[in-house]
């Protein structure tokens, strides 16, 4: 699963360690999520979304193609 975590973190000028501290996880975990080697659990994904004041879909992008007409209305509503 792709994500924009590194970009969002850079926007706030936070280090991986600072983000990890806010999320209550290790820096190793933040790094593994950023590099796409580990997909976070749903609670952690929500926690990340809350930290950046965004919706989960704005941060995590599934590499599978969503069926046409299903994802589109959600995105339009954002």
């Amino acid at each position: 699963m792709k994500n924009r975590l590194r970009v969002l973190r850079a926007e706030l000028d936070w280090s991986q360690a600072q983000l990890a501290e806010r999320l209550g996880v290790s820096r190793q975990t933040v790094n593994a999520i950023e590099t796409g080697k580990y997909d976070p659990s749903l609670p952690l994904a929500f926690s990340i979304a809350r930290t950046f004041n965004r919706h989960i879909e704005e941060i995590f992008v599934s590499e599978e193609k969503a069926p046409a007409g299903r994802l589109a209305p959600t995105r339009a509503g954002l």
Partner: protein
């Protein structure tokens, strides 16, 4: 308008619509609402970072002290009635170390738990493999090794497994 504003003090006067209207340039200079930057958290103290190591180290120190004390007392009183109680006493700090270890595991985050699960699985399987292999070799004449080697072997393989699976998520 003047009867609606009994107080002539200009600082007390209500804000004129000109300045609160969305088209006013004064509104535009305000900080955007969305920027709600949380404060950068402070670095955790070394007690928090090394809590497990400190607790576990203290428990191990207690274990060694009780063990040495127990052995010393038992050597001086080999036939005393209470020797069984003294002999089993080192289990108490060892149980403390076990409880510290289990609590440390529960404090790990989700990725660390996954890594530990894989490392434990690896160490269990690899220990079984090696001990069985050596068991077969003993059957054809290799020297007998003590069972006490099994735990250190498992601990070493656990460390190796942790390193392997940590690198894998890097």
């Amino acid at each position: 308008m003047s009867e609606q504003r009994p107080n002539p003090d200009p600082t007390e006067a209500p804000i004129e619509p000109l300045y609160t209207h969305p088209a006013s340039p004064f509104v535009r200079t305000e900080t955007p609402q969305q920027v709600d930057m949380p404060a950068v958290p402070a670095a955790p103290s070394s007690w928090v970072v090394y809590r497990t190591q400190i607790e576990f180290g203290l428990a191990m120190l207690a274990y060694l002290m009780v063990l040495v004390g127990s052995v010393t007392v038992l050597q001086a009183n080999p036939t005393a009635e209470w020797r069984y109680l003294v002999a089993v006493l080192p289990v108490v700090p060892a149980a403390l170390a076990l409880s510290i270890f289990v609590r440390a595991l529960s404090r790990l985050d989700e990725l660390q738990k996954r890594i530990q699960m894989q490392a434990f699985g690896f160490s269990l399987g690899a220990t079984a493999l090696l001990t069985f292999a050596y068991g077969f070799l003993e059957g054809v004449g290799m020297p007998h090794l003590s069972w006490t080697f099994v735990l250190p072997l498992m601990a070493i393989l656990w460390g190796v497994g942790t390193a392997i699976f940590t690198i894998r998520y890097r």
